[in-house]
Amino acid sequence: MSTWSDLKHNPRLKKIFDQRIKIVRLIREFFWSQGFVEAETPLALRFASQEPYLHFFPVMVTHATGDEYRFYLRTSPEFALKKLLAAGWNKVFEIGKCFRNHEDFGGTHNPEFTMIEWYRAPGTYQNFMDDMEELFKFVGKELLIETLRYKDKEIKVNQTWERMSMKEVWEKYVGVDLDNNLTIEQLSNTARGRGYSVGNKDSYEDIFFKIFLNEIESHLGIERPMFLYDYPAQMASLSRLCHHDPRYAERVECYIGGLEICNGFGELTDSDEQKRRLEVDRAVRHQLGKETWPVDEDFIAALKSGIPANLSFQPERSPVPYGTGRGVAEKSRLAKTSRDPSAALGMTDKAAGIALGVDRMILLFTGARDINEVIFQSVNDQLTINN
């Protein structure tokens, strides 16, 4: 609960809301100080993205003449921000509301939530992992908060964050070589062998997450925050395939105390491949009986025009040196699994971007019990307030 009355009478909730105000301000300060610019892009979109499993809020837009147009509230500002990269911006961020329907009203979800996305063109996924780690350390330092809290877990923010590939976590927690489980047949066998039921309609991704959510996810980011990178190519979404192994894709998520707080990509900038994937997603939406709309051709055109728009822009090294210093073992592992971020701009370092759930970030910094405690008048509050 976080209604005006809760904020007035409950000092703990009041403090959480005060911290929220400070954190949002510090996020802006951090990105401006790192040379990013803040953009504003539309909440209501004529051609929204195509994620098969997300539920969009439709909104009707009516002209003075009475002509009506069906728009959708954004689930993320992704397409719009990439269009700005195509227009010539190199480092851009947006902090604002996103909307996903058919979610829980509580726990770690609210249908209306605050997200920050930032993009670098050129850039690599190593760059934004660095950005994110620096951002959390900066906010922690400014607020004098050393410990992130989620449920009964406490995680020190100011240590070197862990970085592991999906292949490594499968080996560590499931004892299985993911290289040999990249087809639906192989993975089905593995799942059945471990006692899972596998249905005919289950996709590779479904089976993958059954094992991942039951056996791996709760271990992630317990000792220290953790980036998990290089997902099987089946789950590439809007990411490009890995340079070192095209069976995997440059997708990254970050876990803190078992809570997933962001999703980022080494961005796919190939317009034909992007269009193909979006058409596939649209077909899946259709199959699932969900509302469909055409792929945003303007987005495809933006990719086609080239990202980054200005190729003379030089890629950056890690912007700020770490206070703690990255472990040698980790450094050598990173060197093996990724390109050197300071390498000259190649065909595969064109753009990288990431979306971070701000409400969840605030939950971690304040130790709130539930997402409803960090959001003023959450959907749940509004539904219960006058009852």
Partner: protein, 186 residues
Amino acid sequence: MSTTSDIRKGAVIKHNNNLYVVVEFQHVNPGKGAAFTRTRMKDLASGKVIEITYKSGESVEIVEVQFQTMQYLYQTEGRYAFMNMNNYEQIEMDADSIGDDAKYLKEGLDVVVGLYEGRPVSIQLPKKVQYKVVEAPPAVRGDSAAGNVTKEIALDNGLKIQAPIFIKEGEEVLVNTETGEYSARA
């Protein structure tokens, strides 16, 4: 066969031939993918809590549980007694099955008891419960200036909570049973 959409707090699930009562559940959409239902549940035999995540829509074996409003009577030697006010039948539950909720119980409080084959397996408290304040130290001049906007008060069932300094002995207050915090004057 039931599916994950039938999972509720207090539902009893048969999993690998063991019976579990659902303590908590949550929907998760990993990486914008298909939905899953994460379920924390307690083994009815051993009391051990496990976490299982199902694909949403997957079939699960939910055994029938009867939910019955009952009135809390008293507690003796770690046994908690409740009465069905329709037929005056009485049941008892042990401290383990009630867990942390025990501290919110007070004589005459209506709770919803989940019964599996007549055996009580869970209770659900009202979201807010009204108590009488039995102890509230008077506010001291300078409290607000010192930043003390709350004080500890004791309620008629022995529960102690933090409340705003204006609350006085003899008043009735509402407590949020999910967080254990002061909610409002009743």
